[in-house]
């Protein structure tokens, strides 16, 4: 099957293509440079004047796992009025703050996305996370496994175990939980909360293990690098949501010791304590430091106004955030000597000083950080806002007039406390393509995703160009192709497909299983071999294929392991 996309205006940053009119060929699901001589074109799409990009990639979206489903159970009233009917093609569901799994898949595709990654998979909950992602059709998936609050890791680090042992454990966990990357949430803080510590600064010691968040971050950052995992350690830092959190964020960036770090939903960690309200923007200082620190990347976690539900592994900070819970119901859990979670509904209001300033801080960061390759577009779905606000967010970034109109509707105190109005930057389509495709693909190590060069998977999104209303443009793509198949037309699903699950499998010494097996037998309530997820479990969930055309489990290459 050879498809020709003729005459579209192509934005493909990984191949340096910035708005050039080009023809693209896809054969049997992959992009080819030129068709084989004499090959017959089976289908042709005339795309003159239209914008062509690779399928978009969301590198941080809570789409699968226990805490998301707790959020679903917690808020029946939020689903009501947002139920979605079954169609000939699609299953029914619901979709507002925390959409059901199938609806999540359909909506991502209808918005031009062909992949989304669950950033907080607890090892203890990995099987369920993959089950839920298996029930999320249309898009490719993958998950970052949470380490650094689990007893085994903290014990090994506190006991000064050999670093190769710790790396073996990290790699083993990535294999067992079927992960693409590793995340650390409130380093040591989730565990410390179990011992009744209520805050953890970067250099504050855990009362039981005697470790600091700095120790944990550096160990995992070095671990990722030396294991050859493409994505740097994905850090949900200290002090989420706390006024003054900018200090620990700045200290974390400064303390990276040149190691690659990714700071996620940095908006929630960029608050100062200036002004009458003791709540101010730390975005200028953080952006300035980031601009000088090429080893650190970020995503924003932009908030939008309205009802949503925050779902995080950070039980310590989420317990603190229950004060702002709206409606007043929430769940906090301590989990398996492994991790924790906190699910707290939030209603961000444009007339609230704090919420309005949070909105402005996110946008300040977007506009002040210079290098679009190191900043990814996220709302930390559903924590800042549901993912389907992305088209609106793109318009805020691309259209200064629109942005300032929105700003003028906000709490006047927040308007006075932000420099947003002085920021004239407008993102270009090329920069949007970097932030939503090329950058995340490169950072996550998805070599054949996020670009339109020869060999890439034919995940392609085509938009009607609309300079007047970028929101409308990005909300309703003309076509979306997944593996060369048309799955969306005029913003509506026309074919339901299953997505693949991406994993990375760094090398480890199998000898660690002996220690782990004894540990599981002695302390846990699950046996080591029942803890581990097989490929077939994911295949069963995704599509029933054992590989091949939809590539159920795709092992992305890792670099060489150092010692």
């Amino acid at each position: 099957m050879l498809i020709k996309f003729t005459g579209g205006t192509v934005y493909d940053p990984l191949n340096g293509v910035n708005g050039e009119v080009r023809d693209i060929y896809a054969q049997d699901g992959r992009i080819v440079a030129t068709p084989p001589p004499g090959a017959r074109v089976d289908a042709e799409y005339a795309l003159n004047g239209r914008v062509v990009m690779a399928g978009a990639i969301d590198p941080h979206s809570h789409i699968g796992g226990g805490k998301v489903t707790i959020g679903r159970m917690l808020l029946p009233e939020d689903h009501q009025g947002h139920e979605v009917s079954r169609t000939e093609l699609m299953r029914s569901g619901c979709g507002h703050a925390v959409p059901s799994t199938m609806t999540t898949g359909y909506r991502y595709a209808e918005m031009g996305y062909t992949a989304a990654f669950e950033p907080a998979m607890l090892p203890a909950n990995a099987r369920q996370a993959h089950l839920e992602m298996g029930d999320t059709p249309m898009i490719d998936k993958g998950a970052f496994v949470m380490l650094g609050n689990d007893d085994f890791f903290l014990r090994a680090l506190a006991g000064k175990k050999d670093f190769s042992f710790i790396k073996d454990y990290i790699a083993w966990t990535m294999h067992a939980a079927q992960a693409l990357a590793v995340k650390i949430v409130n380093p040591g803080g989730i565990s410390a909360f179990k011992f009744n510590q209520r805050k953890m600064d970067l250099d504050e010691k855990h009362v039981f293990y005697g470790l600091t968040p700095r120790d944990i971050i550096l160990t995992l950052a070095r671990g990722m690098k030396e294991l050859g995992v493409p994505h740097p350690i994905h850090i949900h830092g200290c002090n989420l949501g706390v006024p003054g959190s900018m200090d620990s964020t700045l200290a974390t960036i400064r303390g990276a010791e040149g190691l690659p770090l990714h700071l996620t939903h940095i908006q929630f960690h960029s608050y100062g304590t200036e002004g009458d309200m003791k709540f101010s923007s730390g975005a200028p200082q953080i952006a300035e430091l980031l601009n000088q620190t090429p080893n650190v990347s970020i995503d924003i976690g932009q908030i939008m106004f309205g009802q949503t539900c925050t779902a995080s592994g950070d039980s310590m900070r989420q317990y603190g955030n229950t004060k702002s819970s709206n409606p007043k119901k929430w769940v906090v859990m301590d989990i398996e000597c492994d991790n924790g979670c906190g699910v707290v509904p939030m209603k961000y209001r444009d007339k609230s000083y704090v919420n309005a300033l949070q909105w402005a801080i996110g946008l300040e960061l977007f506009l002040l950080v210079n290098d679009p390759w190191r900043i990814f577009l996220t709302t930390d779905h559903p924590n800042g806002a549901p993912f389907y606000y992305y088209p609106h967010l793109i318009r805020l970034l691309m259209d200064r007039t629109f942005r300032n109109e929105m700003l003028e509707k906000l709490h006047p105190g927040a308007q006075a406390a932000t420099i947003l109005k002085t920021l004239n930057r407008e993102y270009s389509l090329y920069e949007i393509a970097i932030m939503t495709r090329a950058g995340p693909a490169k950072s996550l190590g998805l070599r054949d995703r996020g670009h339109l060069g020869a060999g890439a998977v034919a995940d392609i999104t085509v938009y009607e160009d609309n300079a007047q209303d970028r929101e409308a443009m990005f909300k309703t793509p003309l076509f979306v192709f997944k593996n060369g198949e048309q799955i969306v037309k005029n913003g509506k699903v026309v074919k339901v497909v299953a997505g693949a699950t991406h994993v990375v499998r760094p090398d480890y010494d199998k000898g660690i299983e002996k220690t782990l097996r004894e540990y599981f037998d002695r302390y846990h309530t699950v046996k080591l071999d029942n803890f581990r997820l097989s490929d077939q479990e994911i295949v069963d969930s995704n599509c029933g294929h054992t590989g091949g055309e939809c590539g159920c489990v795709i092992v992305q290459p890792s670099g060489p392991r150092i010692s």
């Binding site: 679903r72 689903h79 079954r86 099987r127 769940v331 301590d334 302390y523 309530t525 097989s534 479990e537």
Partner: protein
């Protein structure tokens, strides 16, 4: 398709024909340290089995045939008859739902397509929890966390032993703790009289304290504890027959504990408005957490109830009691309770699935009934269609979510029989509709 659960027994090399590290689906704890053996007579639980495991694994399921109105037929004919009934039905009720994750997935798909209602047989108990979750939320913990870190276990008004025969052995009286080489003994407190304490014994068990009130009055004790902690104590000399001094003494214990865990099993709180007890315990745990740490641990979840609630939630947004009759999920936990619907003559077909224990028979009803059941399932009269199905974790592989709603476990195909999977039957019906 490769069967990933077809068991090469994992773990240490098995002795002779022992099958090790077997996960048991016959209660919500899903213990996975069982050892079984198989001979010509069937499966035998050789290690770590409780009475539920023995009854569940060792049952003879051979010889059961699909039936239409009590007459044996082949499987294809039974599936055809079931399909015809579902096609004809304007409101099928999908009940029982004793199955694993793949089973409930297949029920959800079929209910969505046929415009039916989904509800688990044990929803009444589960809803004592769900109502509180949906009203105020809570602070909870899990089995491994409790096993290693709880120093005081407070059992609230439920007979845990009856529902989960290995709870005290696996979670409370355990030799090791991650916190200490020489872990201290644990205090176990029972709120309510007549609760089975026979398994609360062994080297890790310290003091056992009982506040002997009637079970339907445990909420009053819990409320009095909360009031003490908030600093607004009751002036009464006793609460629900328990002297105020004993309540104050318990409060002092809770305040000085490192990690007290309050355990209840909603199916055991079997009296009117028992959700208010769950609510009171959740409030008490929240009060304690203002200064100290404490958590709740809800048990129950037998017959695959946790998997059913979770899958229904992630696929539809709602934890069961959902109707798809309008084409979209419509949620009402009173209106779409299948026992109420049957009693009121709502629905025109009952589709009942019970693949774990034979006790989970369908309710008596005049409407036609399709039963996908484990052989020997209790039936008041022959249903319109009966299809014997395998038990996930004995007759075929699968996955199940454990009672703490966090951990899920693989269930292995132990080769007990060749009975079909419920998910395959429902899948075939859905395709044929």
């Amino acid at each position: 398709m490769t069967n990933w659960t077809q068991a090469q027994a994992p773990g240490n090399p098995p002795k002779s024909n022992a099958i090790t590290d077997v996960a048991c689906p016959f209660c919500g704890l899903v213990c996975d340290d069982l050892e079984l053996a198989r001979d010509e007579k069937g499966l035998h639980v050789t290690k770590n089995g409780c009475e539920k495991a023995v009854a569940g694994f060792e049952r003879n399921v051979d010889g059961a045939k699909p039936q239409i109105e009590g007459r044996d037929v082949d499987l294809a004919t039974a599936i055809q008859a079931a399909t015809a009934l579902i096609r004809k039905s304007s409101l099928p009720l999908y009940g029982g739902l004793g199955t694993d994750v793949n089973g409930i997935r297949s029920v959800m798909a079929l209910a969505d397509k046929s415009g039916g209602v989904v509800d688990h047989a044990l929803s009444e108990g589960q809803y004592r929890n769900f109502r509180v979750l949906q009203t105020t939320g809570w602070i909870m913990t899990t089995l491994t966390e409790t096993r290693n870190r709880a120093d005081v276990i407070i059992v609230v008004g439920t007979d845990i032993q009856k529902l989960h025969p290995r709870f005290f052995e696996r979670i409370v009286n355990v030799e090791a703790s991650l916190l200490s080489e020489t872990p201290a003994k644990r205090t176990v407190i029972f709120i309510g009289k007549g609760l089975d304490q026979s398994a609360v014994k062994g080297p890790r068990i310290g003091e056992i304290v009982t506040l002997p009130c009637d079970l339907d009055r445990v909420g009053e004790i819990v409320g009095a504890l909360s009031a003490e902690i908030r600093g607004t104590p009751s002036s009464a000399d006793s609460v629900a027959g328990v002297p105020a001094a004993d309540i104050r003494a318990l409060v002092e214990r809770l305040k000085s504990a490192a990690y007290p865990v309050f355990v209840w099993a909603p199916p055991g709180l079997n009296f009117p408005n028992a959700d208010l007890v769950v609510s009171a315990v959740s409030d008490l745990v929240k009060e304690l957490n203002v200064k100290w740490r404490a958590a709740g641990l809800a048990l129950g979840g037998n017959e695959g109830a946790i998997s059913a609630g979770a899958v229904s939630s992630w696929q539809s947004g709602y934890p069961l009691r959902v109707s798809f009759a309008s084409g979209k999920p419509d949620y009402d936990f009173l209106r779409y309770a299948i026992p109420r619907m049957i009693a009121n003559g709502e629905g025109d077909l009952l589709v009942w699935l019970a693949s774990f224990t034979p006790d989970l028979g369908p309710p008596a009803t005049k409407i036609p009934t399709i039963v996908l059941g484990t052989p020997g399932i209790k039936l008041a009269s022959p249903p319109a269609v009966f299809i014997p199905v395998g038990t996930p974790g004995a007759d075929h592989g699968g996955r199940i979510i454990r009672v703490d709603n966090v951990v899920s476990l693989p269930l292995r195909d132990l080769g007990r029989s060749k009975l079909p999977k419920a998910s395959d039957i429902f899948g075939a019906i859905e395709l044929a509709l």
